[in-house]
């Protein structure tokens, strides 16, 4: 019975570390996004609070906490407040199986990939509840779009992940990372570029990032499903979105970019570096490309990504088995 | 995995039909409308194939799929039923033209699922095959253009079907918990008394509920008349017949485990008694022809129970035979219903008025079908009932047989109503003329001969059914 506390302590430490990681990176990403947006638009971005506006995210956080939480008239109060909580609810868990480094994994498990995919699905539910519960037409429209989009993009995402799984025969992220080498041509992205592209595009759709940010399209729906949220309610959605971005990029890194492996000095920094490169690309895309129309969005998915992903999977199966 | 393809000829052929239908349905619009040309011929060939492959035997797919006389018997029956329903559905007044290939695709899929079901000897496989056939059916029911009733029937059928499935799955889990296996061959060796295995017996009762739903046995019958009424005539002909075959074949395989006197057998008997009584009483009050047939099928599900509870090969064989006879009789009735309702409306009893004058062959077929359903000699229904009674007598459930006898008497009234309207009343002029084409007459004659033939010369079929019942797992 003496081992039980050891396991527990390990888990608690992992929990604390992950929570800290999420919080910190959330702040960093907020800053990064605003800065990159600024520079893409040829303006400096936040500059006042702290050096180069470094403390701006903190100030935002304090402001959000200090704002009143109000429920719109006629809203379903329970659903309305469940939504932001629910959107963040699974986030910490998603980090649990991620291999940050050779030994820095929250918990080794043989179905880690499946766990991430399964629990990230809860996000859709949060969007749905938020839109439905807030008794707002923008909200409901955003939610409808969000759900249709998220569920649609989930399938190519899964199929592209499956291509890797078929190739490696494992759903354990650590094993998948170990199966790749340090150099870029040893990465899965090199072996399966199509899967990587599909994964990345689908990930954009999944996280509601531009050019697929239809559910919260500012110019059409004010703020989509979280129109009615202010203060910390909005903050939670915001944080959850960034956390999801990190998860998605981490998974992409582990699956396709060799994870913590690098040409030299293999370790967590490679992992973080690759994740941040992907994140920056995501932000960059957002401020570069115009938003697609909703029918285009779905057509891209059903008429391009899906058949391609299926084809890719078929080829993968063929190649793994017959060569 | 070396599998002899000859084992699966009926299934493979049905699959080929499905594939062709699929090509057609995704093809150009001109292609889509040509279903009626080749499908009847193909399904006739399917009957041949199924008959030819009677006699194959084998156990494949990790012993989950068994080809034996029982399965081949029912596959042949399903092939025949499919052929007739396809013929029946070639002219569909209430179906959008562009959907006809979809319609047949679903029908073919459903029949295919039933064929698979006939061979399943493992609970999960059974579940899958059953659902495969059910889902196609759910979709087909709503395909009656602009019909509110059809939509309602479909939603009722599927929702309650899902509940029944859920119950069956709970039962499945209890069987697993109690008996630790899903293979019938192993299950059959266990003791199925309530004292010995309470959990598994409860589970089996629940699992049977899923089959009862397909069969429309008493507490799971409520969908039956509604669905028949809501669905188009041609669809109802399918729903009323083929799924029953699937349910019966599974029940036969499962019933082989039970001996008379077990709690579960008694449960079957009681449900059978309730089912026939309720079905017949409810049918008395109906005026819609399809509702009458719906309640009558509830009653007939009860009759089949007699064979299942007897616990003898004869009983199981009688149940098989009765199922076959039931399909033949019901198809006959539905053939007439579909031909008379040229505009695809729901027939009331009064719509049958004067049928003997307007379409004597149809009236005759209706009389044959209805009297066969009553169990009047020399039609198939009589022989079926006689076999059931003979097989069931003295195996502990004599009271069930007596109730069945009394029920036969009750049922006469409403079946006679069909004939009475067709033969003794004169038609009013507003009712549109029935379809009196050669095609319609030939079909009616074929089905009548089938029903009469099963009644007059049941020997061979029954002997085969007996051979089927004798080699149970």
């Amino acid at each position: 019975m003496s081992q039980i506390p050891v396991e527990l302590v390990k888990l608690l430490i992992a929990l604390a570390a992950i929570a800290a990681f999420v919080g910190l990176n959330g702040l960093v990403l907020v800053y990064l996004e605003r800065k990159i947006a600024g520079h893409v638009q040829r303006r400096p971005g936040p500059f006042e609070v702290g050096p180069h506006g470094l403390l701006q995210p903190l100030a935002d956080a304090v402001k959000l906490i200090g704002k009143q939480l109000f429920t719109p008239a006629g809203a379903d109060k329970l659903l309305f407040w469940m939504a932001p909580v629910l959107s963040f609810f699974p986030v910490l868990l998603l980090f649990l199986p991620l291999p940050f480094g050779p030994t820095a994994t929250g918990m080794e498990m043989n179905l880690g990939l499946l766990l991430i995919l399964a629990f990230s699905g809860l996000n859709v539910l949060a969007i749905c509840l938020a839109g439905w519960g807030s008794n707002n037409k923008w909200g409901i429209l955003g939610a409808a779009r969000g759900v249709a989009q998220s569920v649609a993009y989930e399938i190519p995402l899964l199929l592209s992940v499956l291509a890797i799984a078929f190739q490696t025969g494992s759903l354990n992220l650590s094993e998948i990372v170990q199966g790749q080498g340090g150099w870029p041509w040893q990465w899965n992205a090199f072996v399966q570029p199509l899967a990587f592209i599909i994964f990345f595009v689908s990930a954009l759709g999944e996280t509601n990032r531009a050019p697929f940010d239809l559910p919260e399209a500012e110019s059409e729906l004010t703020a989509g499903f979280h129109t009615e949220y202010s203060g910390m309610g909005f903050g939670m959605f915001f944080l959850a979105e960034y956390a999801n971005m990190i998860v998605v990029c981490s998974v992409a890194t582990a699956l396709f970019l060799g994870g913590w492996q690098g040409p030299f000095f293999a370790g967590s920094w490679w992992f973080l570096l690759k994740v941040y490169v992907l994140l920056v690309v995501m932000i960059w895309l957002r401020w570069t490309y115009p938003r697609v129309r909703f029918d285009q969005l779905l057509n891209i998915n059903w008429k391009w990504l899906m058949p391609l992903a299926l084809l890719n999977l078929l080829i993968t199966a063929f190649v793994t088995k017959l060569f | 995995m070396n599998v002899n393809p000859y084992l699966f000829l009926p299934e493979l052929f049905q699959f080929l039909i499905i594939a062709l239908l699929f090509v057609q349905t995704v093809g150009s619009e001109q292609m889509q409308e040509k279903v009626g040309v080749w499908l009847p011929i193909a399904s006739a060939v399917g009957v041949l194939v199924a008959v030819v492959s009677v006699g194959q035997e084998g156990l494949v797919f990790n012993a989950a799929y068994r080809i034996d006389p029982l399965s081949q018997f029912f596959k042949a029956a399903i092939a025949v039923g499919f052929f007739v329903t396809v013929l029946n559905a070639t002219r569909q007044p209430t179906l959008d033209k562009e959907k006809s290939s979809d319609y047949f695709l679903f029908l073919a899929l459903s029949a295919w699922g039933l064929m698979l079901l006939a061979s399943s000897v493992e609970l999960i496989t059974m579940y899958l095959a059953l659902e495969l056939s059910s889902y196609s059916l759910y979709a087909v029911i709503a395909l009656r253009a602009d019909s509110k009733g059809a939509a309602e029937a479909a939603i009722k059928y599927i929702l309650f079907g899902a509940v029944a499935t859920a119950l069956a799955l709970y039962g499945f889990s209890y069987i697993l918990a109690g008996m630790h296996t899903t293979y019938l061959a192993e299950l059959v060796q266990k003791t199925w008394t309530f004292e010995a295995a309470p959990m598994a017996v409860t589970g089996m009762a629940l699992f049977l509920a899923g089959m009862f739903y397909k069969l429309a046995l008493f507490p799971f019958h409520f969908w039956c008349p509604d669905v028949y009424e809501g669905a188009s005539n041609e669809t109802a002909a399918f729903v009323a017949t083929l799924p029953k075959l699937g349910a019966v074949v599974i029940l036969i395989r499962l019933a082989a485990m039970f001996k008379p006197g077990y709690d579960i057998t008694t449960l079957l008997a009681v449900l059978g008694a309730l089912s026939m009584t309720f079905g017949n009483l409810a049918a008395l009050a109906q005026t819609d022809v399809k509702r009458i047939l719906g309640y009558s099928s509830v009653a007939h599900a009860g009759y089949i129970m007699i064979g299942l509870v007897s616990g003898t090969p004869e009983g199981l064989a009688a149940a098989s035979f009765y199922a076959l006879a039931y399909v033949a009789m019901n198809l006959t009735c539905f053939w007439v219903v579909s031909r008379v309702a040229v505009d695809g409306r729901n027939l009331q009893l009064s719509d049958l008025d004067g049928l003997h004058k307007r379409a004597p062959a149809l009236a005759f077929a209706l009389a044959v079908g209805a009297f066969a359903l009553v169990g009047l000699p020399p039609m198939a229904g009589f022989m079926g009932k006689l076999f059931l009674f003979s097989a069931g007598w003295n195996h502990g459930y004599n009271w069930l047989i007596i109730i069945a006898g009394i029920n036969t008497a009750i049922s006469i009234y409403y079946y006679l109503g069909l004939v009475r309207h067709a033969y003794t009343n004169d038609a009013s002029d507003e009712v549109p003329m029935p379809d009196t084409s050669t095609f319609s007459y030939v079909g009616a004659a074929f089905l009548s001969i089938l029903v009469l033939g099963l009644g007059l010369m049941p020997s061979d079929i029954f002997d085969f059914a007996l051979q089927v019942g004798g080699i149970m797992p």
């Binding site: - | 008694t266 000699p377 007598w393 047989i401 033969y423």
Partner: protein, 511 residues
Amino acid sequence: MQEVAYPVLTSLVFFPLLAAFGLFFFRGDNAVRIYSLVVSVIELALSYPLFAGFKLESAAFQFVERFSWVQKWGIEYYLGTDGISFLMVVLTIAVLPLCVLCSWTYITTRVKEFHFCLLFMTAACVGVFTALDLVLFYVFWEAMLIPMYLLIAVWGGPEKRYASLKFFLYTLAGSALLLVAIVAFRVAGGTFAIPELMEKTFSFGFQFWAFLALALAFAIKVPMFPFHTWLPAAHVQAPTAGSVILASVLLKMGTYGFLRFNLPLTPAASEYFAPAMIAISIAGIIYGGVVALGQDDVKKVIAYSSVGHMGFVTLGIFLFNMRGLEGALFQMLNHGITTGGLFMLIGVIYERSHSRDINDNLGLGKYMPGYMFFWGLFALSSFGFPGTNSFVGEILVFVGAFEHNPWVGALMVPGAMVAAAYMLRISLKLAWGRPSTWNNWSDINLREWTYLLVPAVFVLYIGLAPGLCFKVMDASLAKLSNDVQTKSKLVSIEDERPMEMAWNSLKNIVK
């Protein structure tokens, strides 16, 4: 066993059936009528080998044909006739041409279907009387329902819907349990063949329930007293030919069933129930007579009189002595002839007055002497006037009853008296009532003469010289009575208590 070179009984059963399908090749009502008449005469001719080859002294089944039908269950195609059924077969076949003749002008709509039903009916009835396999019997038994139903429902009177339904439901309801009983016999006795089942002895508990199941079916058909209500309705609404067949043939099936099944198969139970059956029979005789006395509708009078007459038959059957059985069988034959004749007469008058009410047909003696001659003859026969056929039957039943128990005999007397009363009342009015409605109706024509003369001849022939009939039936009846006497002793009633048995099985259900 086969006395004749070809299957006589099969040809008798299937010739009318095939001929019925031949009807569809004819056009024109008269062609159909003539064709049917020819068919019925050929059918009569086909029955000639029966007369020629029937062995009078033999109690065994004759003209036996036996083929396997459904091997597995031992269902056979098994035909044969003996002294009990022989007369019934002949009666059935003989009635057919009369029916065709008497509906020559009566039926004007859907003539082809009408004759189809008639021929079909005949085939089924011959089948019922000759079948020696329980299942085959049941097949014919049910098969005859449909044409009869149609005869009433299509060509019947104003209340035809009610009457036909009642007829159909009553009879089929009765036969539902018959099927169960048949199955039970198969399981208990191991075969469906009646002669072989007769050899077997069943336990009393089994006999008890089997008797009840059989008796319900047959009692409804006879019809015995509490189950008789369908009969007046059916008779009144049916067309003449329908009434004739109903009275002459169908009613006999019930009593034939008693003779053929209840007595030999369940002798002990028959004896157990005999007092009850006798009581019901007497109740039926008196009830039928009294009700008939109060009717104004001629057909109803005859219908209720049938209830009474059939009461004599069942009474005779359950007396368990030779006289009673002879009387019963005689009475079956006589009732067929006499009542058939009366119904035909009613049909004749109905075609003229379009009413069956006695008050619309008063005083015809003066204008239609030929008609009244026949009416008088059949009426006398109906209440058993000496010298007519019914007298022979009734007196035999009387003798048997007194032999059995004087009280039973004494109770029958008022029944016979009432019969005379209602028959005379109606005949008097018909013949000498104040003629108020006569409207130049012609007397009976040649066709009517023909079909009335035939039963009239038999009325007198049997009444005056019954010897031949006795010879036909005696051997079989003696064997039957002998069997019953011996076999009923084989099982003792006290050993098993059937009610308790039933209660136990009920308890098993609930458990």
